[in-house]
Symmetry: C3
Amino acid sequence: MPSLTLAELQARLGGSVRGDGSVLLDAVASLETARANQLGFLLGRKLLAQARSSGAGALIIPESLGEPLSQPCLAVANPHASIARALALFYPEASAAAGIDPNAHVAADCEIDATASIGPGCVVEAGARIGARSVLGPNCVIGARAVLGADCHLHARVTVQHGCVVGNRVVLHPGCVIGSDGFGLAWENESWFKVPQVGRAILGDDVEVGANTTIDRGALDDTVIEDGVKLDNQIQIAHNCHIGKHSAIAACVGIAGSTRIGAYCQIGGAAMIIGHLEIADRVTISAGTFVAKNIKEAGTYTSVQPLMRHGDWLRNASHLRHLDDLAQRIKSLEKQLEQP
Amino acid sequence: MPSLTLAELQARLGGSVRGDGSVLLDAVASLETARANQLGFLLGRKLLAQARSSGAGALIIPESLGEPLSQPCLAVANPHASIARALALFYPEASAAAGIDPNAHVAADCEIDATASIGPGCVVEAGARIGARSVLGPNCVIGARAVLGADCHLHARVTVQHGCVVGNRVVLHPGCVIGSDGFGLAWENESWFKVPQVGRAILGDDVEVGANTTIDRGALDDTVIEDGVKLDNQIQIAHNCHIGKHSAIAACVGIAGSTRIGAYCQIGGAAMIIGHLEIADRVTISAGTFVAKNIKEAGTYTSVQPLMRHGDWLRNASHLRHLDDLAQRIKSLEKQLEQP
Amino acid sequence: MPSLTLAELQARLGGSVRGDGSVLLDAVASLETARANQLGFLLGRKLLAQARSSGAGALIIPESLGEPLSQPCLAVANPHASIARALALFYPEASAAAGIDPNAHVAADCEIDATASIGPGCVVEAGARIGARSVLGPNCVIGARAVLGADCHLHARVTVQHGCVVGNRVVLHPGCVIGSDGFGLAWENESWFKVPQVGRAILGDDVEVGANTTIDRGALDDTVIEDGVKLDNQIQIAHNCHIGKHSAIAACVGIAGSTRIGAYCQIGGAAMIIGHLEIADRVTISAGTFVAKNIKEAGTYTSVQPLMRHGDWLRNASHLRHLDDLAQRIKSLEKQLEQP
């Protein structure tokens, strides 16, 4: 790992040094575990006491923090972003050798940039294109005529199906599938009949897709994931969804077909959104929430059951089957009392 | 893409041409985007106005539609099925070359039909059998003694575990796993003890399994997916489940062990069904629904929370912990009012 | 399959033979299907009648069972554990040949124990270590410097990312991903910024991980799965979670970042647990339950909606949006009646 003084860090990250800029650092660590050669961080005031007693050699702190700390500090406008940049400096990604591994299987007519790296066990089918400096980890599959931009990083075992388009600086984690068939079925003679899915999945720039997440191709038109969208693990995005730019979606979320999510949305883990809905920009959906209607205004939306001890739940939940009866009985009591 | 006149389409799909059958078409498109060389479609009356103004060169319409349209039309009994067939004509699947790719690894004693196609990076273990015209995409794994029927299409990175049986015309999407071990555990000495899973997963004919869906093998007896069952992405089917014929299950559904789903059921996305249940034929389960008891009659069943603004939810949901108290208080009020 | 007499079984499993110990058995079967050469089993008294009429050649029964049965029996303290052991005897796992398959791609500086088996299509990156007798099925990927202990079994298409640590006797099912990046994002200039994830995922001994389950690496510190934890399919465990020893988690569960689950917990299928929580030891969480607060005491906890016919649900669920109003109206009625 590289070593940097706090002053050198300041030169790369901006902000201002408070205290001794010559302290030498070679790692980032949490306040509890950090040692003299490690950089700790304080995102807000909440852990101030812990920061005071931390063994970290230096700290990244918010520039708004007035209190002095005994450790040398780098005061910055956005500590979270600065610590992300510091991590990238201290833990540089292993660089992959440019070129096609002899154990990769690349069709003759692909266009693979000479600076791209294709790992062992990868299969790149006819007519696919892969941009500059993009790295494919082991055992990835790129379908026929699929296009990957520059500076992408596909971890191991990623699948991009035929004809799909992936932008620049896209990160795809193991097991994710881009462009699987949508669930399109016609009913005839008491059985289901597959509707061929001929649209594509299109991912913009700076998209990240988590492990084992699946994004279906469009039925006719395309499924679109706009620039800067971040998707966690095990998310399912059905055919013809449209996810607006810089929305972030946590793990285990499912979004059914043709739903449009606005820009700058945040969707909590395991939320489920049915098909053909419109969700406005800057909507926050709480974890575990079920969304079955359009959301037209920014704000936070929720629909979860509170946790109970099982005995309490048994006693309370049974009334959910009779809420309408309870409501009618209240109305009836009110009428009785109104009458003189 | 092939070009066809509307009359040629009629010859293949049936139905009757209204207007000029000589219009030449080479693609299918939605009403909004369709151009003069493209076939649009109208599934019902709902989008009639949009159909009238569509630039499509021709339209597939329901034969029950009385109103004339300016475009040439093919009037059919089941527009959804006809458009599925038209898509298959205009977008034929790329044919895979018969034979075993030199970069596939096939055990010596497998029976691979000479017309089957085994892609690069595939591993086919000892004693496996693969039927006529079946296609395995890149990096699939077929376990020892597994059997695949004819005309199957395994997309990239599919796993069929040892001894499992897959019927004819089965489509398996990337990352799906057929025949993983069920979650069988015995408790002994304060720790879990694995119960070997020695049953199989058996898939009938015309089954489709979505991306990253998992179907566990049986513990002793088999897990059975009957003919014509369609499974979307990221579904989990536990050991010894039995899914009746022509049932369709949307994405993110989980079905726990030994549950029997009837025939012709429809299960909405993210529904969760606990183990050892019986669900009758022709049951519809709404998206997001939790099923914890048998369903003995056809019909639609639901158990989801309505969405609220977070503030409303905070105010309302807290009462769910006290529903029983509310119900008792209503009863008490009723008694007070009964008394003279 | 091997053949064993009931007496030979007793010698291996313990317990006591009731009746003829010379009956020859070569398989395990359920009470309904078992034949004269097969071993059936009775876990408790519930299926006693069925056991009486079973065609099984012999039965494993609880030693506490007083009633005589016509079949020869092996009476044991823990029938579930004994039947698991019997299954392992009758259905031994296929042994994999030691060594590196010529179609595996192993970096030069790995340490692969000579008794380990590396299957075709596997990729083992630089500096990885694999212990004695561990078996990697086809197309697995082991990242740089990852460490696997002894006697592990990785089924097909498993990914262990760089630097992660897997204990001894660990079973990893197809498609699971150990050590994918956590969902760490900083917000800056109206877009998300990736926080490098530099911790590891650490799995203890005797852990089992189901098909397509994902376990994220830690952000800075490690994600830890303690000894004996059993994870079913399609579970998502986010960065920096800590799962206590011998906890069992059913399929489709999601656990958000930095949550600590105690030891000996049982989490039902599709339960969802938000981040930064503490769950005590020996907690049972019902299937489908949403957990949004700490659980400090052992016990069973639940939060699910009861299933209703869709019409009943429509009538009842609408009141959930107005529970607070109903509660206020009850309070107001009570006040009216209190007044003289």
